[in-house]
């Protein structure tokens, strides 16, 4: 039978039972809409986490002194003095996958200006730190190489520190704050970055030349951390490999000996956070998928009822020349029509619900085109799969019995 005729018959049959067709569709509508919405929410939160992490520097690599264990005793990393400026120089000059490298020594303490003071941390770094952590100087300038060489008493401050110490709103550049006992002249103010995904205020800091912090604040010669960035996120693993090999050689570690340093990357953190949100997405989508399955069972149920109800019609069609496959196609098209129409409405409802969530709850939403296509394909498949058995039952009826069915 011609496909046009089949569609006509199916539309008519569904039209004869509009409410029932709609209620059957509802299962599919809800299923598809929830799959799309759940994936949109899951993807949205994943993307917002990824965006935040990349703001912090997604290709960032941090080298800390100290392995996890030494001689069976866990040591406090700060007590270790294994990282030196020689290591820093080696990383700067001898690696291929590291783009920026900065030393890092820090000290927590009180910053004082006149009668006001605020607790904060001073980080002793070099100019590369700005590129690694993706900070920008909003007002004034960053300190120079000359300042570093001279261990000059200069600093660049974060927005939070500015707000605490200079509530009048004037530019702090040129003023002198005291950190502990050390007076530091402010040469620049960092652009605000806000809180990161772990709730840390990224603007609550003071950046100073590492030489200044080493000599004048901490009185040490080693480094507490070497902060680097890989050429890009994709090179992180290779960069870590390079740094590990380099440091082991410099530290004269023998084969089998544990590292006396530890390397973390932002990517590990990123993977950890996104894998949590990925798992949430999968769980949500699974729940939504189950509702699609339930919708499919609803179709199957209604198609069985429909076949029984229309046994006489099937018998008649067969006696005037419908072959088994004509009847099969007729009922299959009917169930596919239900599921496809339900799928279309479900896509609309899902996209609508996602946009509503974004508008009302200001939740990050990202509707993936593939999730729309996938759920649409799944529900078409659902129509065929769950329509098959009832249609098969209809096609196998004996016309002699069907036509006399009461």
């Amino acid at each position: 039978m011609h496909i046009g005729n089949l569609l006509k018959i199916a539309f008519k049959a569904l039209g004869n039972n509009k409410l029932r067709a709609f209620l059957t569709m509802l299962g599919i509508i809800i299923g598809v809409a929830s799959v799309i919405t759940m994936l949109a929410i899951g993807q949205g939160s994943k993307r917002s986490i990824q965006a935040e992490i990349s703001e912090m520097g997604s290709n960032m690599i941090m080298v800390h002194p100290g392995g996890d264990m030494r001689g069976g005793v866990r040591l406090e990393a700060d007590d270790m003095e294994s990282l030196t400026l020689a290591d820093l120089e080696a990383i700067r000059t001898e690696t291929r996958y590291v783009s920026y490298v900065s030393p890092s020594v820090n000290s927590a303490g009180q910053a004082v200006y006149g009668a006001r003071n605020t607790p904060t941390t001073v980080y002793g770094v070099s100019a590369d730190y700005l590129d690694i952590r993706r900070y920008r100087v909003a007002d004034g300038d960053f300190f120079t190489e000359q300042d570093i060489r001279a261990a000059a008493k200069v600093c660049v401050v974060g927005r939070t520190v500015v707000d605490e110490l200079f509530p009048d709103g004037g530019s702090p550049v040129g003023r002198i704050v005291r950190f502990g006992t050390i007076p530091l002249r402010i040469v620049g103010v960092l652009e605000s970055k806000g809180y990161n995904s772990m709730g840390m205020d990224q603007d609550d800091l003071i950046l100073a030349p590492y030489t200044t912090v080493q000599k004048r604040v901490l009185a040490i010669t080693h480094l507490q951390e070497i902060t680097c960035s890989a050429l890009s996120e994709g090179y992180t693993d290779r960069a870590i490999g390079e740094i590990t090999a380099l440091l082991r050689r410099n530290h004269k570690l023998r084969e089998g000996q544990d590292d006396d340093f530890t390397i973390h990357s932002q990517q590990e953190l990123s993977n950890m956070l996104t894998s949590t949100s990925d798992m949430m997405s999968v769980l949500l989508a699974a729940v939504a998928g189950i509702s699609l399955l339930v919708g499919g069972i609803g179709i199957m149920n209604i198609m069985y009822v429909s076949v029984t109800e229309r046994t006489r019609e099937i018998g008649l069609r067969m006696s005037i020349g419908a072959r088994g496959r004509d009847i099969l196609a007729q009922f299959l098209i009917e169930s596919v029509l239900i599921s496809v129409a339900g799928g279309l409405l479900g896509v609309l409802a899902g996209v609508g619900a996602s946009l509503a969530v974004r508008a009302l709850a200001s939740y990050p939403i990202y509707i993936q085109p593939w999730s729309v296509l996938l759920s649409f394909a799944v529900c078409t498949f659902t129509g065929v799969f769950f329509g098959w058995y009832p249609a098969q039952k209809a096609a196998r009826l004996d016309p002699i019995e069907a036509i006399r069915y009461e």
Binding site: M1, H2, N5, I9, K12, N16, R312, E313, G315, L316, R317, M318, S319, I320, G321, A322, R323, G324, R325, D326, P399, I400, I403
Partner: protein
């Protein structure tokens, strides 16, 4: 006058549990083009089984059946469905129209299973068939808005629309009142007069008087096969019955 139907030693056995029921025990006859044959028999005589075989819904256990020159016994299911579609017009006791469907759509139905028939031709032939049964003014009436007589006339139009070799009527007047029965019978007589081959299966002996030939079955065998040289005229009988409802007036 060539043969439309030829049955030779048709047997049909059904296995019910451990027993074998012989519904037909060797039926042979031939029907020529243009005959109006009534097949009579009480219930259990095998006439329903015979009708199923004649209608290519069932195949005989033994014997041969030729419909319009085609041997049916060895045909597969799909081939028989197509054969039904081209060669047979069914008229059932309970009309079997599609519910909530217009007369014209009901009549078009057999042609929808014939891919060689286009939309325009389908409509044209359905209108012509409905005109032939006197329902030219009710094309768009739905099946649930019609009387029994009208519904049966739609069913007859549906049986005519594929221009079949034979029309098979199964107790076609069984659900109708006397007056409407004769109207439908009159319609069959006029189709017969127009050259149609009709097989009318019934248990009502009265109807046999209006056909040109009568075959009687008992216990799965033909016990009588008589031709009727002077059939009664259903229109004349109808004229003697007092008019009931104007709605079921005979077609003009």
């Amino acid at each position: 006058m060539d043969e439309v139907i030829r049955l030779e030693h048709i047997r049909r056995d059904f296995v019910v549990g451990e027993e074998t029921v012989h519904a037909l025990r060797g039926v042979s006859f031939a029907i020529r083009r243009g005959e109006f044959v009534t097949v009579m028999g009480t219930s259990g005589s095998g006439k329903s089984t015979l009708l199923n075989i004649l209608g290519c819904l069932d195949t005989p256990t033994a014997g041969e059946y030729w419909l319009d020159g085609v041997a049916v016994r060895t045909m597969g299911k799909d081939a028989r469905a197509t054969l039904r579609n081209r060669k047979i017009g069914f008229v059932f006791q309970n009309y079997n129209l599609l519910p909530k469907t217009t007369a014209i759509e009901n009549v078009e139905l057999p042609l929808m299973y014939n891919p060689s028939c286009g939309v325009a031709e389908r409509r044209e032939r359905a209108v012509a068939a409905l005109r032939a049964v006197g329902l030219g003014d009710r094309l768009l009436h739905k099946s649930n808005q019609m009387s029994g007589g009208q519904m049966q006339r739609v069913a007859i139009a549906r049986a005519l629309v594929n221009n079949p070799a034979v029309i098979l009527a199964d107790e076609a007047t069984g659900n109708l009142d006397t007056r409407t029965s004769f109207e439908v019978l009159d319609l069959f007589q006029r189709l017969h007069a127009g050259g149609r081959t009709i097989i009318f299966v019934t248990h009502n002996p009265e109807i046999a008087q209006y056909s040109s030939r009568n075959i009687t079955l008992r216990d799965g065998r033909v016990i009588a096969d008589t031709s009727n040289p002077a059939p009664l005229d259903a229109a004349a009988t109808l004229a003697q019955i007092p008019s009931a409802s104007p709605e079921d007036a005979p077609p003009t």
